[in-house]
């Protein structure tokens, strides 16, 4: 060794210096699944940013991306719980379509007076979604009918009812503008814009659209508060663990992870702020994601769902009411399917018979790409969200590149298969 001649203390210092990154790398390897997914998303985004000559990260396109995929992600939150509890729900696309048709009819064709108010309609639709989930969950939870069969029936029933409500092949619309804001709207700028570079004014005294640089300050503030909250909670949790004398991940890794995620969030927020601001649906989605992370990580009901999926018999013998819990998981799925349906209808500005058609498969794929196990008991909210975005970015990027829709499906299929093979390989290696 070349360091042989060096004095002992010095070599010790050198080793200490090397220790940090080495520990970080080993922790990175052990948590490859968790970090790998985020890294994969970043890699895919950079790939398409390059192949689309920078179109992917254009503010307009980012807004589109979020608006096109939000309903998949919203439904994936419910699907994660369904899959973790050891079940599957094939009906979510049809339920979304049915709820969209119902909402459109209530607002546009049926003239229900105050009941046609978009907000009232939305609430009624979420309740009906919950009832649909309860109706399906009842047979699964209390009569032990396999969820695959019950929800396959639901998929046929609600697709049929969706088409019936729309009177055959026609669509119902246009929907009220205030309703459409749910999907295509942006949050109002209550603080006001900040002009960094004044827009160029042409000879006629009009500003040229797209010139100059103004920031949507409400979006910026929400973004900064979000990033600070993320860093704060990460740091307190870490400090709390250390105070109780339990090992936490290496600080280097923690710092790098927090900085990468924060930078990504700030970059996206900046892009939105230079355009029309944060899409309403992104805010809805972010709140829901935070809620579901909390429920699955911190609440007893979340813990019980994982235990039930891991070993239903042991959970039952530990005093967990597995029947009722299964029912609740499906009620939750129904409500989120309904929300997904409202988001689809709001984006299109009308209800169409094909709304949500086939989306159950995208939702399920997102959850599996996110690392959930088909056997139940394993899966993370963040994983499913990232999985959903991976699917969304690939759809979007390949469309911009002009890849044929047929081949897009082939690529998505390969990615799903690859992600699951990677998982199984990792598990066997451990």
């Amino acid at each position: 060794m070349s360091t042989d001649s060096a004095p002992a203390p010095q070599s010790g210092v050198a080793e200490d210096l090397q220790q940090g990154p080495r520990v970080a790398v080993s922790a990175l390897v052990t948590n490859l699944r968790e970090y790998g997914l985020v890294l994969a998303l970043i890699a895919i985004m950079l790939f398409f940013q390059f192949t689309t000559s920078g179109t992917l990260f254009k503010p307009l396109n980012l807004s589109n991306l979020v608006q096109q995929n939000s309903f998949i992600i919203v439904m994936a939150l419910g699907m994660l719980l369904v899959i973790v509890s050891g079940h599957i729900d094939l009906s979510v696309g049809s339920v979304a379509g049915f709820i969209g048709a119902l909402a459109a009819n209530m607002m546009v064709t049926w003239h229900l007076g105050p009941l046609s108010n978009p907000l009232v309609v939305s609430i009624i639709c979420l309740v009906i979604g919950g009832c649909i989930g309860a109706a399906q969950g009842y047979w699964i939870a209390y009569h032990r009918i396999p969820s695959f069969i019950v929800t396959l029936a639901g998929m046929l029933i609600f697709r049929g009812m969706c088409q019936a409500l729309l009177g055959g092949g026609s669509s119902v619309g246009p929907l009220p503008d205030v309703f459409n804001k749910l999907s295509s709207g942006f949050i109002p700028d209550v603080i006001g814009t900040l002009t960094l570079i004044a827009p160029t004014v042409n000879a006629a005294g009009k500003t040229i659209v797209g010139s100059g640089l103004t920031l949507h300050m409400t979006t910026v503030v929400i973004g900064i508060v979000g990033v600070l909250a993320y860093a704060y909670f990460g740091l307190t949790a870490r400090r709390n663990r250390e105070r109780h004398g339990y090992e936490a991940e290496p600080f280097t890794l923690f710092a790098v992870k927090t900085m990468v995620v924060s930078a990504l969030m700030l970059f996206l927020v900046y892009q939105f702020a230079t355009y029309k601001g944060m899409p309403v649906v992104l805010l809805v989605m972010a709140v829901l994601i935070a809620l579901f992370v909390f429920v699955t990580k911190r609440m007893t009901i979340g813990r019980r769902i994982y235990a039930m999926g891991g070993n239903a018999k042991a959970a039952l013998l530990s005093g967990i009411k597995t029947d009722r819990l299964t029912l609740m998981v499906f009620v939750n799925m129904g409500v989120l399917s309904a929300l997904g349906g409202l988001i689809i209808a709001a984006r299109l500005g009308q209800a169409v018979p094909a709304a949500g058609l086939g989306s159950e498969l995208d939702v399920i794929a997102a959850v599996f790409i996110g690392g959930a196990s088909a056997m139940g008991g394993v899966g993370q909210v963040i994983g499913s969200v990232v999985g959903g975005f991976i699917m969304g970015v690939m759809n979007n990027g390949m469309s911009i590149m002009g890849v044929n829709v047929d081949w897009q499906q082939v690529v998505k299929g390969l990615v799903l298969l690859g992600a699951v093979i990677f998982d199984v390989y990792n598990k066997n290696k451990a």
Partner: protein
């Protein structure tokens, strides 16, 4: 005049950490009924699995000589080919197929893969006649009772031109009448020249049909008795003859008032609604007392405990439960847990643990409100609880974040115990608490049990290991065929006494 059909010489079989068989010898003469008896876990079934090739040649030491030739069976197929057929305790029939389909499963009369059902059914009818079963060959297995299913298994064995028939506890789940019919059939086969090995711990049956008895204890052959020497007393002494050394922690019981009282508890089988599994049991446990339930496999002990624990087993559960003198409703597991009753299962992998989750989450599962406020789990509180119980029960793991699926049996058992200790029950039912764990871990479990009793808990221990019951309990109930057939103070009990109660009870119960 008689020739030896089978000789097993110096069979030694080791599992990781356990010597299941050590130098076992078995010699069976052509045309006899040879009984093999021993306690649960003595090694009877392991020996038969060696013989039939379930454990292939090379995984054990010793020789098998069958009809004068040394055999190296690589699998069941090899031994069946030579006419050695084993019928296991758990029947290997496909419920939704017919009798014919089951008998010829994997062995169908077919030309180019096309089955000739007429030929198969004709042969089935002939076989069923031989075993005295009057059923249409087209009848589905699920529609006939256990006794008849056993006969179908035997008919299946006959279809393979059996020379040596091995029956592992064939009457364990049969009624008295079906058992008699089966034993008569064995005697009939004997006249036809078929040799049988009968594994049983029902000594009255052994007495009735066996020509010779080989007794196995702790993986060793103790002795082989000829017909003239066979007596229940002699067999019992050989079966249990070992001394109790200091394998149990000392304890001084302080027994208080009656905590749990069960009266006239009856349960029916969940699938065969006409079969009564538990027949009017009365038991009680006092504060600080350790009560044992002894009995053989299939006596209904687990069924009793699980039916008591929130009706987790059986249907038409009837009877009264009193806790500290007051009747309580424990018709669901959560109600039982709320009343301070805990059941630690005998099958920790299936019923006790979430194997894909870590120790911490498993320990708090039965008492999540204990680590949470307003349904929000306090992560730090949970962690300290998990570490606390890890220390108390001495769970050996790298941290409480180790998956329970990667732990040894003894440590898994300690996790299950910790889970229930954290639920802070008044009454703790432990079902085979030391099954499949090594001696050192057993001692630790006994220590925990003793400590819990001294803390004033009422404890029921179900065990098939009689020395264990004698070593750690204060009072023992003996159970057989769904009834309590004996009750004795542990100080007054002995293995012989327990075995006698079981064997005597056998004749009474029908």
């Amino acid at each position: 005049m008689t020739s030896t059909i089978l000789e097993m010489r110096d069979i030694t079989k080791t599992f990781p950490g356990v010597k299941a068989l050590s130098n076992v010898n078995l010699r069976v003469e052509e045309g006899e009924i040879h009984a093999v008896v021993g306690e649960n876990g003595a090694g009877k079934s392991t020996l038969m699995k060696v013989l039939s090739g379930v454990y292939p040649s090379g995984t054990y030491d010793g020789e098998i000589i069958y009809r004068g030739q040394e055999c190296h069976f690589k699998g069941i197929h090899d031994s069946e080919h030579l006419g050695i057929v084993i019928i296991h305790q758990e029947l290997a029939l496909v419920p939704m197929l017919s009798i014919t389909e089951n008998i010829f499963l994997g062995n169908e009369h077919a030309t180019y893969g096309i089955i000739d059902w007429n030929a198969n059914e004709k042969r089935t009818s002939a076989l069923l006649k031989k075993v005295g079963l009057k059923e249409d060959p087209k009848t589905l297995i699920t529609n006939i009772g256990v006794g008849k299913q056993q006969l179908v298994e035997i008919a299946k064995a006959l279809s393979k031109e059996v020379k040596l028939l091995i029956l592992d506890e064939p009457t364990a789940s049969l009624s008295e009448k079906d058992s008699q019919a089966l034993l008569d059939l064995l005697l009939e086969f004997k006249r036809q020249g078929i040799t049988s090995i009968l594994i049983s711990h029902k000594l009255n049956e052994v007495n009735r049909v066996a020509d010779k008895v080989t007794i196995i204890r702790d993986g060793r052959t103790i002795e082989t008795l000829d017909k003239k020497d066979i007596s229940e007393d002699r067999i019992i002494t050989s079966m249990v003859g070992r001394s109790l050394d200091d394998r149990f922690p000392p304890r001084e019981p302080e027994i208080g008032e009656i905590v749990l009282e069960v009266k006239n508890w009856s349960v029916y089988h969940p699938i065969h609604p006409e079969r009564q599994v538990i027949k009017g049991i009365d038991i009680d446990v006092r504060k600080g007392e350790v009560v044992g339930i002894a009995g053989l496999m299939g006596a209904g002990r687990t069924e009793f405990a699980m039916s008591l624990f929130g009706r987790s087993y059986g249907r038409r559960v009837t009877g009264d439960v009193l806790l500290n003198g007051k009747p309580i409703d424990i018709s669901s597991v959560s109600k039982a847990v709320e009343h301070g009753i805990a059941y630690v299962t005998e099958d920790r992998k299936t019923y006790g643990l979430n194997l894909i989750d870590h120790i911490k989450h498993n320990i708090t599962l039965a008492n999540l409100p204990g680590v949470s406020r307003h349904s929000v789990i306090d992560d730090m509180r949970e962690l300290s609880v998990a570490n606390d119980y890890r220390g108390r029960t001495n769970i050996r793991a790298s941290s409480v974040y180790q998956m329970t699926g990667n732990l040894s049996g003894g440590n898994q058992q300690k996790v299950v115990l910790s889970k229930w200790l954290f639920a802070n029950p008044e009454v703790l039912i432990l079902d085979e608490p030391t099954r499949g764990i090594d001696v050192g871990a057993k001692y630790e479990i006994y220590t925990i049990i003793a400590r819990l009793a001294s803390e004033g808990k009422a404890i029921i221990v179900i065990s098939s290991e009689m020395p264990e019951l004698l070593g750690i309990t204060d009072r023992i109930y003996v159970m057989n065929e769904g009834r309590i057939v004996g009750e004795m103070a542990a100080s007054d009990a002995s293995q012989e006494k327990i075995m006698r109660a079981i064997v005597r009870g056998e004749g009474k119960a029908s």
